[in-house]
């Protein structure tokens, strides 16, 4: 099962790399913000998976919870900040 976890973590890393393309080259600033948020979701899952790989689930789940809340609030604050600052 550990191999399965490692394989899915690697697949998640590939997905993160693919979505990093939009995060870097996205035509508008909002594309970059969703790129960041999208990578954040994958990171939550990746943290939980790491907990399963290292068998320290209790610690990594707390990290994942805190990270999910941070990610959500970060997206909210950045999207508030960019209102009426121009789309480009």
């Amino acid at each position: 099962m550990e191999r399965f976890f490692l394989a899915s973590a690697l697949a998640l890393c590939v997905i993160i790399l693919l979505s990093l393309y939009r995060g870097v080259f996205g035509p508008t600033v909002f594309d970059r913000i969703i790129g960041a948020g999208f990578i954040g979701t994958k990171t939550i899952i990746l943290l939980v998976l790491m907990g399963f790989i290292y068998e320290r689930i209790d610690m990594f789940i707390d990290l994942a919870l805190a990270y999910s809340i941070l990610n959500f609030i970060g997206t909210l604050i950045i999207s508030k900040y960019f209102i009426r600052k121009g789309a480009k």
Binding site: A11, L12, F30, I34, I44, L49, K80
Partner: protein, 118 residues
């Protein structure tokens, strides 16, 4: 139990992959949001359900129950937070006059159409 958990996780990976391809392929910001908003929610849900099922297979105890509930809590929180974050981002894009990609050039249409003359 382990096989069901693995099936859930593979389904989650598949949904994430679809969302990413959609994120790269769709023509403009608003349509990209479609892919990410839905893919994020269902992918996280599938993945977390799979991990919780795998965790319960170790045996039932108080600590295991707590960890399982925390995992489900992540999924529930994300089920609420993901549409809200999407909504906030779309609103700020809409208010800073980012026009959507359309075929006929009319960005906003009223619904139902018969009320338009009022």
């Amino acid at each position: 139990m382990v096989i069901v958990a693995a099936i859930f996780m593979v389904a989650g990976l598949f949904v994430f992959a679809i969302a990413t391809i959609g994120f790269l392929r769709f023509p403009d910001f608003y349509t990209r949001m479609h892919a990410t908003a839905k893919g994020d929610t269902l992918g996280t849900l599938f993945f977390v359900i799979g991990l919780a099922l795998y965790y319960l297979h170790h045996g039932f105890c108080w600590l295991g129950l707590v960890q399982g509930i925390k995992l489900i809590l992540i999924a529930v929180f994300w089920l609420l937070a993901s549409p809200t974050a999407t909504h906030a981002l779309l609103r700020s894009a809409f208010e800073s006059d980012l026009s959507p990609w359309t075929k006929d050039g009319k960005a906003i249409i009223e619904w139902p159409p018969k009320r338009r003359d009022k």
